[in-house]
């Protein structure tokens, strides 16, 4: 590894991270199966909600399609964070710091694995969604943008998973954050548009919750077509989360290496 460029180092770690995920069928199955199961239960369980006056879609299946994309990104970040924490727990991270490999390569490689998983999830969900009858109003280009935004969301939340792993160095602590991620998803406009949420306190939380804007950006591509405002807010929030979480992960990495 001596003398190898940062890019080579990142590629090596990214390959390791991707292969580790690919070799755990249980992780892959739960990363695909659970979000699709929840999506399906929501879509057919809440189909009647389309008859609420002012509901923006004719089919709840279309409306709910952002759900598996965001949920999978959040869950993927827990998986990646837990893998990084396992590297710290097992001493791999410490051994790595004795080699010429730069610690930042470990973080970037892990995030590259998150992006790869996000890409696979985005494409697989899109294919299953289309088979189930989801109609993407923005057409083929919209599907590409949908997958791109999903990957950015995965990267942003992957950074949050990295912060948790680097700060705690504990797999258990990272996995304990799972319920919190669930809270963040459900306390958003994931199930109903914000203007149709009756409870004022819930609408307020959904309005300040960035996940609402990620969901609305993704959803606009499916049910509206090209909505510049929703897309700007969606991409803006995704980039904001990426910048903040990577800055936090970088700072956590420096603290971890200094120990």
């Amino acid at each position: 590894m001596t003398g190898s460029s940062l890019l080579t180092q990142i590629s090596a770690i990214a390959l390791r991270s991707t292969l580790r995920t690919a070799r755990q069928p249980a992780v892959l199955v739960s990363a695909i199966l659970f979000p699709m199961m929840f999506f399906s239960v929501n879509a057919y369980g809440l189909d009647a909600a389309t008859s609420i006056p002012g509901f923006p879609a004719d089919s709840y299946l279309d409306f709910a399609f952002a759900f598996p994309l965001v949920q999978a990104s959040l869950f993927g970040s827990i998986t990646a964070g837990a893998d990084l924490a396992r590297d710290i727990e097992s001493g791999f991270f410490d051994r790595l710091s004795l080699t010429p490999m730069r610690p930042v390569a470990l973080l970037a490689g892990m995030l590259a694995g998150v992006v790869a998983l996000g890409l696979v999830q985005g494409v697989v969900f899109l294919a299953i969604g289309l088979l189930m009858g989801v109609e993407v109003s923005s057409g083929f280009l919209g599907m590409v943008v949908l997958v791109l935004l999903t990957v950015l969301v995965a990267l942003g939340f992957g950074g949050v998973g990295a912060i948790l792993a680097l700060r705690t160095g504990s797999v258990e602590a990272v996995e304990s954050a799972f319920p919190l991620f669930f809270v963040v998803i459900f306390l958003s406009s994931i199930n109903l548009p914000r203007d149709l949420i009756e409870a004022g306190w819930f609408r307020f939380i959904a309005t300040i919750n960035p996940v609402s804007y990620l969901v609305e950006g993704l959803r606009s591509l499916v049910i509206t077509g090209w909505d510049p405002q929703a897309l700007l807010l969606g991409f803006g929030c995704a980039v904001g989360i990426i910048v903040l979480s990577l800055a936090g992960a970088g700072a956590s990495l420096r603290t971890r290496v200094a120990r």
Binding site: N42, Y44, A49
Partner: protein, 254 residues
């Protein structure tokens, strides 16, 4: 027979002591409370859709599901405790010491009931706090009876799996079927408003009958109460046999 109850009492007392000296015993209440807040708070307008005919309103509609989820997950968590006891060696010593081993199953079941009494009260207190009406009066006890049976069935199912596998990795095997049964039911809207494959599965899911009867009790309009109790009792009986079978397997494994 004295040994049976003595063992059950000792196991139950140990479990209850463990629960109430560790705040983690409230963990099974987290998801039901959270789902209740998320669904009852965020989906209130769903109560206005044509055909939504539940007279108690949307908060009450969601409360019943959250309560049954809390008691079912309480049963699942007891299964996790049993698996943990096998993994750390306590259960092996217990099997050696117990004069009547069937009492062990009863002990864990009683402890599970004590645990979900607290989590059930928490869910109910929250629902009352956000304005849920209990218009059914004494019929509410019918709902409590069904909740107790659901907890017994889930605990016995979890106990059977935990004793068969004797490792904490049994967690997903216990949790996943319970989660599926809970969600493949009329969670958000009444059965007639479901659509697609979910409607078909929910119609054949025995939990749907229990859920609908429990919702009827809450508003004083009991429906399908006899089938609901019959199904719940049958589940308790089947899973009691399953738990005893698991116990025998654990005995043979030493």
């Amino acid at each position: 027979m004295g040994g049976f109850f003595a063992v059950a009492g000792a196991v139950a007392w140990r479990q209850i002591y463990k629960y109430f000296t560790n705040p983690a015993f409230l963990a099974p209440a987290f998801f039901p409370i959270f789902f209740f807040v998320a669904f009852a708070g965020g989906l209130t307008r769903v109560g206005d859709v044509p055909g939504f005919d539940y007279s108690g309103g949307y908060i009450a509609f969601q409360y019943v599901w959250a309560l049954l989820q809390a008691v079912a997950m309480g049963g699942a968590f007891t299964g996790f405790s049993i698996a943990g006891d096998f993994e750390n060696g306590f259960a092996s010593r217990l099997l050696l010491a117990a004069s009547n081993r069937s009492g062990i199953v009863l002990g864990y079941t009683l402890a599970s009931l004590a645990r979900v009494t607290v989590t059930g009260v928490l869910v109910t207190a929250l629902a009352l706090l956000v304005g849920m009406p209990i218009s059914g009066g004494f019929d509410f006890f019918g709902l409590i009876g069904l909740a107790v049976l659901v907890n017994l069935a889930a605990t016995l199912f979890g106990a059977g799996v935990a004793m068969m596998l004797r490792t904490q990795q049994a967690g997903p095997v216990i949790r996943t079927p319970i989660f599926l049964v809970l969600f493949l039911a009329p969670v958000f809207v009444p059965l007639d408003l479901l659509s697609g494959w979910l409607e078909t599965i929910a119609r054949y899911n025995p939990f749907t009958t229990i859920l609908e009867a429990a919702r009827g009790y809450l508003v004083g309009e009991p429906t399908s109460t006899l089938p609901a109790y019959a199904i719940a009792l049958a589940l308790v009986l089947v899973f009691a046999l399953w738990a005893l079978y698991g116990l025998r397997r654990a005995e043979r494994a030493g």
